[in-house]
Amino acid sequence: MARITTTRDESGFIREPGRSYGAEVPVLAPGHTYRSVTDKITDVVFNRTPKGWYFGLAVTLAMLMLLVTSVGYLFARGVGIWGINIPVSWGFDIINFVWWIGIGHAGTLISAILLLLHQEWRTSINRLSEAMTLFAVACAGMFPIIHLGRPWLAYYLFPYPNTMGLWPQFRSPLVWDVFAVSTYGTVSLLFWYTGLVPDLATMRDKTQNRFLRMVYGLMALGWRGSARHWNNYQMAYLLLAGLSTPLVVSVHSVVSFDFAVSIIPGWHSTIFPPYFVAGAIFAGFAMVLTIAIPLRAFYKLQDFITMRHIENMAKVTLATGLVVAYGYLSEIFFAFYSGEYYEQYFIANRISGPYWWAFWALILCNVLAPQALWSKRVRTNLPLLFLIMMFVNIGMWLERFVIIVVSLHRQYLQSSWDMYAGTFWDWSTYLGTIGLFLTLMFLFIRTLPAIAIFETRELVHADETQPEDMPA
């Protein structure tokens, strides 16, 4: 006679035997109180600046100066200083645009979708990854603008009434991009700032410095933590999460349309939207791990960013990496299946043409290296994990190189085939945006709580009580 036996653990959840539920590694190290959480997180801001921070900032500031120089020189001389030519009219600028915007996606996914899915492990990494989103979008947004021959006319992209009879071509995905990216930037900023408000009030109350109290106080918008504040706050936060959720998918889908609605073999591919989105999340999680692994070691935040976070992020990276690999395979199979000459030629050219090295390096970085993440031992080995994430960071850049440059350099007309290589200024601009991104990251970590204090305190609360009593 069949009987049903279930095990109920001390927190009231029924657990399937044999499934770990990550229970052995908590999302918050045990023994923390509200006070210890607050102190530990705000100490990163209020303690004396560590020497390592100055050193890091000096390096990234130097890189930022490189960006300023490169863009200044670009504005003086025009895009001729770059390696772009005809037919490769999109080079590093668009590669970098797609690379950066993809990196932002992990932040949105973690903050919006994982919130709606009740994934509590998002809590201590959401602030960091939302900041990352914001800085990545800033870097990304720059590239299409400086790519314009006359960047001071960038506002032509907006549909505004004017006497010149100008109107954007709404059938062009490049115009959709303007709206997609600017919406993305706006909503990400709102989401990040809304999440910060209660923590800014904590900072205001904790600081000893009068001036800082004023600054944090102004930014906290008069937050006092009353029940009504919290009620409105939760509602606003959930609504913003709902608004951000479609953005996770829509922004990179629109970016993929930039390529897919054209007729260039290698660009015109119906798998592009989901495959770009998966690639964006893949790249984004790799970047979160790239930043989180050194950060938690440097500031000793192991209690908050636990191995549970690290492992879960590694799993998401593996899963999205597999989708990306599926995209590569799908392109190859359908080119074979199609029987079309140009479809087959672009795949042959990608695999064994003059840029064969880029394709095979891409396979190594994005397909082979992440397979190591199947092993739990790799997922919990931080130096190795960091190394794999560097592979992914490079691999996702190469992916865009392969898609953009390798597809463009040999199109239908053999007479206009050409080769492409980035010039010094291409590389310096790219390196410069990395400098911008890291500089903003350093400043953020030093001035704002990099981990959500109040949400982490909720975890302390959840630790003590039954989950049924948790706010929905």
Partner: protein, 399 residues
């Protein structure tokens, strides 16, 4: 500890009778159609109906593996249903044998000698030829059956022994199993649906058809689950929270299906390349366009708007209606993807297209309830006694 037994019989007795009648009447009428009406139409109706119900089994296999990988409360109550649905796969495979023996020429243009000529089509002969096609079909069904057999056998053994390692083993198989599933489904959907128009190709195809199968299977499972809750053995277990989870997932799958379908459409429509735009030209004209509009409205807009409502998702009697619409519209979707390739000059629906899915539905339901019977309808050792977010005592809602 719960010490109740949950068996399917009481909830499914009526379903079995209805299924038997449906199978007999449907298949009888269909056979009659072959004899007195049009044999070619017979094979086409037979094929689409077979494909839809096989797709339900395939979708169930996919959801089963997703459920093993991800865990989650929603999966525990669905697991036995999904296993039973997936177990129909080898049997459904048998129904392809008549098609393979007698029906290929009525269904696949490329199977005709002398059709695959010209610069493009002659190249595709390497892949689209009868022996290779049949070999691939055998391979797919062998692989899928192996996955189903392993997963259900371990699940059954877990019921008997309570051996915790089996749970881990099922999860361990499901992750690489899903990779195999994704690859075989892509190839199979190309063979079974895409190749109906031998010239068309689209890199999103595998994902597009697979998500349609998954969505149809998921909706059908909601219907079965609701039946078993309403007057059956699951009443003490299921709460509105369970159905809320399932409704959310159905909404998510609906959105993904729409997203894939729209992506394919906008990319092909915008580029307007002759070799692929014609696939949509056929489907947007001559009456097929109305079917496309119906799909947009009833496979996306209406379910989407309805499923946004929380009370609707919590009430399984309301949810089941939406699930019915969604499952039916996915049949229309399959019809819309396939049939216009045979009738390029305009809408064509035969009376056999109505009886065939009923007949195969009956057959499938008979197989399904046979698989479900005789085993506890909930997996032992997996079931949450109560949904973790179910707060019945606070709100006094639910049944």
């Amino acid at each position: 500890m719960i010490t109740t037994e949950y068996r399917a019989q009481s909830g499914l007795r009526h379903v079995g009778n209805i299924a038997l009648v449906g199978a007999l009447v449907g298949l009888l009428l269909l056979t009659l159609g072959a004899l007195i009406d049009d044999p070619e139409q017979f094979w086409r109706s037979y094929y689409i109906a077979w494909l839809y119900w096989t797709g339900i089994a395939l979708g169930s296999l996919g959801i089963l593996m997703i459920q093993h990988i991800s865990g989650g409360v929603w999966g525990a109550t669905l697991r036995r249903l999904l296993e039973s649905a997936a177990l129909t796969l080898p049997w459904m495979g048998l129904f392809f044998i008549p098609v393979a023996l007698f029906g290929l020429h009525s269904i696949f243009e490329w199977s005709h000698e002398g059709f695959m000529v010209g610069e493009v089509l002659s190249q595709k002969k390497v892949y689209l030829n009868v022996p290779f096609f049949l070999a691939r079909m055998v391979a797919y069904f062998v692989i899928w059956t192996a996955l189903v057999m392993l997963l259900t056998r371990w699940s059954r053994r877990l019921d008997g022994t309570g051996d915790m390692r089996l749970s881990g083993r099922m999860r361990g198989l499901s992750a690489p199993g899903f990779v195999v599933y994704a690859i075989t489904m892509t190839l199979a959907t190309v063979d079974l649906v895409l190749s109906l128009d031998p010239e068309f190709f689209s890199t999103i195809w595998g994902a597009l058809v697979t998500i349609s199968f998954i969505l149809a299977a998921f909706s059908l499972m909601i219907i079965v689950l609701s039946l078993l809750t309403d007057r059956g053995p699951l009443r003490p277990v299921m709460s509105s929270e369970h159905f809320l989870d399932l409704g959310k997932l159905m909404l998510a799958f609906t959105i993904v299906w729409t997203y894939f379908s729209f992506s394919q459409f906008i990319i092909i429509w915008s580029a307007n390349l002759p070799q692929e735009a014609v696939w949509y030209t056929v489907r947007l004209s001559g009456g097929w366009g109305w079917m496309g509009l119906a799909l947009l409205l009833f496979a996306f807009v209406v379910p989407f708007l309805l499923l946004l409502s929380r009370p609707l998702k919590e009430s399984h009697r309301a949810l089941v209606i939406v699930a019915g619409v969604v499952a039916f519209m996915q049949y229309i979707n399959l019809f819309y993807l396939s049939v216009p390739s045979w009738h390029r000059d305009g809408l064509h629906i035969s009376w056999m297209d109505f009886v065939a899915p009923i007949g195969f539905g009956g057959v499938w339901l008979l197989l399904f309830s046979a698989m479900l019977r005789g085993r506890p309808i909930l997996p032992l050792y997996v079931l949450p006694e109560r949904h973790p977010r179910d707060r019945r005592e606070l709100t006094h809602v639910g049944n």
